[in-house]
């Protein structure tokens, strides 16, 4: 379990990193926390010719509020998100979801940008990013561009990030007052890849649901937003009966695949149970926040 030979480039600036990536096409990989990449390299399932190490780019590690937007630097460690008061206040859904990312030692090393760019369809942060309408800021030698989270994720381990681009920042609208949330998932063991996860938000007032978001991990090649279920919430009484119906719609809408750890039927069961439960928790938080 040793990686195939590769060239190692330690970037000391963003430009340095972009220069390292340029000209290698898909043969170059960015090394951030390395919690997924190194394991794949040791199994020789991934064999980059060039590894561009961005761990010295400390100016990419930050969490800050800018004009109604929460900005998270790509190199921010997941454990920093976990212990951040800013995140807890401005993006409680992410604060809840981050605890499901691997184990604490993994989060100490793993980064927000690395998790998103890796684009594992069972991962938590991609579902959160899609649910919250996040925007990803990227850089290449040609300049900067932004990609909406919903346009970023394509397929397992595949994004619209070009091979010469570096993800530098995630921008999320600051949490609107009175919005409830819940992140729930079921995995074989604590910290494992999720079988199914759900990122839910909900706004309700006077016993009526106004809007909600339901985005799932583990049920498709990328985070899956179930618009029909979201629409079914609008205008209905906020409570278990509605959520039960919405959960049924969500379970019917998703098209999960079967693998060794979970059949499609089981994943649908989990979508059904987690949707209802997540909406109940989101409603409770919505009411407490109102």
């Amino acid at each position: 379990m040793k990686p195939a030979p590769f060239q190692y480039v330690r970037a000391s600036s963003i430009d340095d990193a972009l220069a390292g990536l340029a000209g290698h096409g898909d043969d170059a990989k960015v090394l951030a926390g390395g919690q997924s990449l190194i394991a794949l390299m040791n199994l020789r399932l991934v064999r980059p010719a060039v590894l561009v190490d961005i761990n010295r780019l400390s100016d990419l590690a930050y969490i800050r509020q800018e004009n109604g937007t929460l900005a998270i630097g790509a190199l921010t460690r997941q454990s920093a998100v976990e212990s951040s008061d800013v995140i807890a206040r401005l993006c409680p859904l992410m604060a809840e979801a981050i605890r499901f990312v691997g184990h604490r030692p993994i989060r100490n090393r793993g980064t927000v940008g690395g998790n998103l760019a890796h684009a594992d369809p069972t991962s938590e942060l991609p579902a959160v990013a899609v649910a919250l309408g996040a925007t990803f800021v990227t850089r290449s030698q040609k300049g900067q561009r932004t990609i909406a989270a919903d346009d970023f994720f394509v397929a397992p381990l595949s994004t619209t990030l070009a091979s010469n681009e570096l993800l530098t920042e995630v921008r999320i609208p600051v949490w609107p007052a009175g919005q409830g949330w819940a992140f729930m998932e079921v995995s074989p063991r604590a910290g494992d890849y999720a079988l199914v996860g759900v990122a839910a938000t909900l706004r309700a007032a006077d016993g009526v649901c106004q809007s909600g978001r339901l985005v799932y991990s583990g049920v498709g090649p990328r985070p899956i937003r179930v618009a029909k279920a979201e629409q079914a919430l609008v205008g209905c009484s906020s409570g278990e009966a509605t959520f039960r119906e919405v959960a049924e719609i969500a379970a019917g809408q998703v098209e999960p695949s079967s693998d060794f750890h979970a059949t499609a039927d089981y994943r649908r069961d989990l979508v059904r149970a987690l949707t209802r439960r997540a909406l109940m928790v989101a409603l409770d938080r919505c009411q407490k926040g109102a």
């Binding site: 030979p5 020789r44 604590a190 060794f260 039927d265 089981y266």
Partner: protein
Amino acid sequence: MSAPAVKDHPIHRRWIGQSMKRVEDPRLLTGRGKYIDDIVVPNMAHAAVLRSPHAHARIKKIDASKARALPGVLLVLTGAEAVEQTGPLPCFANPPVAQYCIAVDRVRHVGETVAAVVAESRYIAEDAVDRIEVEYEPLPVVVNPGDASTSKGDAVLHPDRGANNIAHQRTLTFGSYDEDMRSADVIVRRKVRWPRSGAQPMETVGAIASYDEGTRKFTIYANTSMYNYVGWLMAVSLKIPAHKLNIVPTIAGGSFGSKIFTHKVLVLAATLARACGRPVKYVEDRLDNMTSCDNHGSDRIYELELGLKRDGTMLAFGMKVIDDYGAYLQFGVGHHGNAAAQLTGPYRIKSARIELTAVFTNKCQQGAYRGFGSEVNNFALERIVDAAADELGISPVEIRRKNFIQPEQFPYKIPTGNVYDSGNYGAVLDKALEMADYDGWRSRQADARKQGRYIGIGLASCQERSVFSSTEFWFWNHEPGFALTSSPESVNIKIDPTGKAFVTLYSPFWGNSPETMATQIVAEQLTIDPSDIEITYADTDQGLMGTGPGGSRYTVMIAGAIAGAATDIKRKLFKIAGHFLEASEQDLELRDGRVSVRGTDRGMTIPEIALQAYYFRLSLPDDCNSGLDARFTYDHPYTTQPNADRTDLGVFYPIMGHMCHIPIVEIDIETGQLTYLKYVAVHDCGTVVNPMTLAGHVRGGTVQGIGSTMYEHFYYDEQGQLVTANFADYLIPTLKEAPPNIEVGHVVTPSPFTEYGIKGGGEGGRMGVPPALASAVEDALRPFGVKIDTLPITPMKIRDMIRAAQQRKG
């Protein structure tokens, strides 16, 4: 041999029974233990292995030219080349099954070694492995054990052993089985499937082999066991005389049975060292270990029957069992010998029958895993006892209590011929019920069910046989082959001139507590302070017979050996002290490290006596030679031969522990997930040497048992690919999957036959969990009429069963 004399056990003990901190821990917990990967030999090169991607194929051609051309590569060795120097690996089956350290001509499972590379570094070796080109001719793949009897042609793995894939087939009947079944009011039948799981020690298997051209001798460092028992078999494989091989043990980072022999790795490292003229280190990585080592456990399909009277009295227990042994037979069908030691559990069952069919398939061969097949029998027996309780409308507690062997019936001979030395099963059950608040939980369960919550209360009362004699390895054979009847354990104790005790063990550190056990027992015997005792491990050059840990034997056996050696040392202490004190030896006593004349203050400390013993020969009694040391080889305390037709297997596993596990769980019926509300494990393994380390064994074993029951599965697909060959797919429970508190209780029924009355306790936890948890899940899901007859019980399977039940209801 009739039953040995009943031993008197001293009541007052200074060290035995103390929760002394482990002697091994300071160096291990501070990262200063020297494991195989920490050992560096001058000029050492590194090996990596090319593993078969096919489950079954002929090797047509191997082109290693690109690998050999890589700078830093010293050697690429194929099976055809290796076999010119090295013969087949040791095999305990008869007739043996040829298996080589590198496959010759044909691979029989995914992961089998096809070629090995030696290079200046492991990195280069793995790069070279990538460059070896192999042409395979795929052969039909056998995965389903049920197909073995009809396999033919190229699907037969070992054509030299017969025309199909049946490795061993035999029916043994004990007692008047047919008659008892005819007299039964009910015969309960059940099919049970125990899937393949395996030991997963933190450290894989490794060896560093050197070949000295001058002395023409191999030295092999290895994290193995049994080197002082059957290590010479490795020399046979290497085609060298046994005195030209020295195996040096290193501490092992866990074994759970999987490092009992490690013949593939040792022989491979030595073969490579000989071929390339450099010392070679080969340490398996996790893929090597999971696909090709000795850590795969039993893989059985049972059809069970239990005959009972209507009042619940058990009469006869029988089974048809198919065991999927994989591609080779390392320990024969010894696992079924092991299970026969406690075939009928703690119950007064009069007769039994086993119809065994062991089969070959294209999977890694079975090795040894904590329980060695008896844990599977526990599961099968307890499942059918639960089924009988259900069918007869008797509570699971009462059906067990009604059939328990009673304390006054020991020593008790079970139908297979094995004898249980002692026990008090009712007391263990009572203690477990009390600790678990069983009745209280029954009423809480009823309340919860009204609220739509599904609480389940499980119960299993199981045996833990300990201290094997070796007949179990061969008595299933039609021809015994090598009819081993000894499994001794040795020790050497030297008191040096300053009075310190040097204790040499002939078996390895395996992750258990051999140093702590030996220290406490030597301290007890010689009244020496534990801090004055040093433990070392002997290599095979220095080796006396040592069968090693396994089958929960080590503490019992080393206690016997230490008592033997200490008796000789005490005799000499008394002789010398008596001489100096001018007192009769009958008037002397040993207390707190001092031999004194009873009732006086006259005495000599052990250091004072030792100094005389070493340096002042002319002051010693005339018949006393210099020095103060003793060695002792302790034989199994109670073992007999099986009879010729195997209607009586003899006494082979008589030191019988017992346990009762009561898990209380809640199941989330929407997701199938399980939560532990309580977990109680009460064990009786006789006199306890160290309650803390024993509780560690019980808790660790319990979590390991949870792994086998709820999570772990070596799953081969239809092509014979091992789907779960990594720790993302092979799921070992972590602390978060364990019950928050495993409450451990003890009942002490000393063995009448062992030193201090100790029984083994090393495997107990894992041997009780599977049936206990299965019954808890079944109990929780009783409203759905669900039966748990296969493992692992994953949340997905629980959901599948609930969904099916809900659909049945409509």
